[in-house]
């Protein structure tokens, strides 16, 4: 498997605070990769470095080519970023949110994609006209996921999809992510604090600590390694 996304020595800072200190990681095409770590470890910044919403140095390659420009160009290149905290347009309707997800696509025929989303999330078809802000937290997270998929991305980046959601809903979201990966070969880079559930779906994982990769490897090995689990994953 070749790498769809590669980060080489990526650094980023917010003012005086250095959030990433030379992060190198690889997301093979067709796989799910998790980025784990405590609060403030730089997980979110790693995704933001990829999507161009934070200034960074170092090299990022997407499908072998250097990734450049702001978030608009990154979205157009085929990377969908679902930010932390849902990331929907709360004042717009469910349907409008989905349409916006397909904004960068050249073909404008969304019927088959809409039908596919309604298969994954049956409630969407009945509530297309509802304002996104009036949905429950879980529904908003699902809508954010569906919106990202509407763009038919080559790489899906999810930031803390479990945040503030009931365990049942978290399992449902990760089940769908896994299904998308297995059935459609969707490549996923997921940032999670809940290491247990992330390691369940991911093929490999990286653990960040104060902006550096401290451990990485296949998920199975990470799960088995008690020392890693204790000191970095907290379970």
């Amino acid at each position: 498997m070749s790498a769809l996304l590669e980060l080489k020595g990526v650094e980023a800072r917010y003012g005086p605070v250095q959030a990433l200190r030379g992060v190198t990681l690889e997301v093979p095409e067709g796989s799910i990769v998790a980025v784990l770590g405590a609060n403030g470890a730089g997980k979110t910044t790693a995704l933001r470095a990829v999507s161009g919403t934070v200034r960074r140095t170092g090299e990022i390659l997407f499908a072998g080519k250097p990734l450049r420009g702001g978030p608009e160009s990154v979205a157009k290149a085929g990377i969908a970023h679902v930010p932390e905290g849902r990331g929907t347009f709360t004042e717009l309707s469910v349907l409008e949110n989905l349409k916006l997800g397909a904004y960068t696509r050249r073909d404008r025929d969304l019927t088959s994609d809409m039908a596919r989303m309604a298969e994954y999330f049956p409630w969407i078809s009945e509530r297309g006209g509802q304002r996104a802000g009036t949905l429950s937290g879980g529904e908003q997270q699902m809508l954010a996921l569906a919106r990202a998929l509407m763009g038919r991305p080559r790489l899906l980046m999810l930031d803390e999809p479990s945040l503030g959601l009931a365990p049942m809903i978290v399992r449902e979201i990760f089940r769908i992510v896994r299904e998308l990966n297995e059935k459609n070969g969707l490549t996923v880079l997921v940032v999670e604090q809940d290491a247990r559930i992330a390691l369940d779906v991911a093929a490999s994982a990286y653990v960040l600590e104060v902006g550096r990769v401290v451990v990485s490897g296949p998920s199975s090995e990470m799960r088995e390694d008690e020392a890693v689990r204790r000191s970095y994953l907290g379970y």
Binding site: G70, P83, F89, G101
Partner: protein, 294 residues
Amino acid sequence: MADFVQQVVSGLASGGVYGSLALALVLIHRATGVINFAQGEMATFSTYILWTLTANHGWSYWPAFVVTLLVSFAGGIGIHELVIRPVERGSVLRIVIVTIGLLLLINGAMTWIWTGEVRYVQGPFPTRTIDIGGVAISLQDIGTIAVSIGTVGLLWLFFQFTRVGLAMRAAAVNPAEARLVGVRVTWMLGLGWGLAAVLGAVSGMLTAPSTILDPSMMQVVLIYAFAAAVLGGIDSPVGAVVGGLLIGVGLNLLGAYVDFIGSSLQLPAALAIILVVLMVRPAGIFGRREVKKV
């Protein structure tokens, strides 16, 4: 009764004009977070373009109207690109000061190009009246209502049913998120300025036939438009139009039936409306109250 209906219809005609200009203010406020104080002068400038085409170059009204809209659209985008964009990320105060500077600049430019001499713009609608159920209604009023409401309606369709319209709304409500789905937010803001300039041009061109064209023509109209936007809710496009119609009809009725107001106290009445709305219901009729979490 007939007189009352007449007053209402002519109030709706002025209200349509206030509503169009108020909508221009709302569009820019939603996207940029500021009131564009130059909106009135921009509208007057557009009207001068119409006057030049019709009076100086002998164009007939409607082709000149369309060309004026196109020029205004380009001008609005140009103003955003050259003057607003450099300060867009700065504080609200900075942008406001720039729009006030723009007001002075455009006003001066108009005096320089066209002199301060008063001009007359021939309207496209006949000034005679028609009889509807025993009430004499001026055709000019009906035409003004039709054009302003038609423009607003077209704009609504654009925002509601086109891809770019949706992207513009997304950019206005959540710019960071819009960029993540690939919307070029800066372009959308420029487009917003272009559309606001078009709305302003419509209101200016509809105002001109019933008054005289000079560089300060729209200054009073802008105050009524402020009142309309504040009354309807400064972030609500629907509110701007409804507010405009309410202000138009309300002031017209006050002027006609409340002796001491007459035509000379209409402007203070509009200012009083702004003041009262801001005290009693700052979000306006259609605005959502801003909830600030501490």
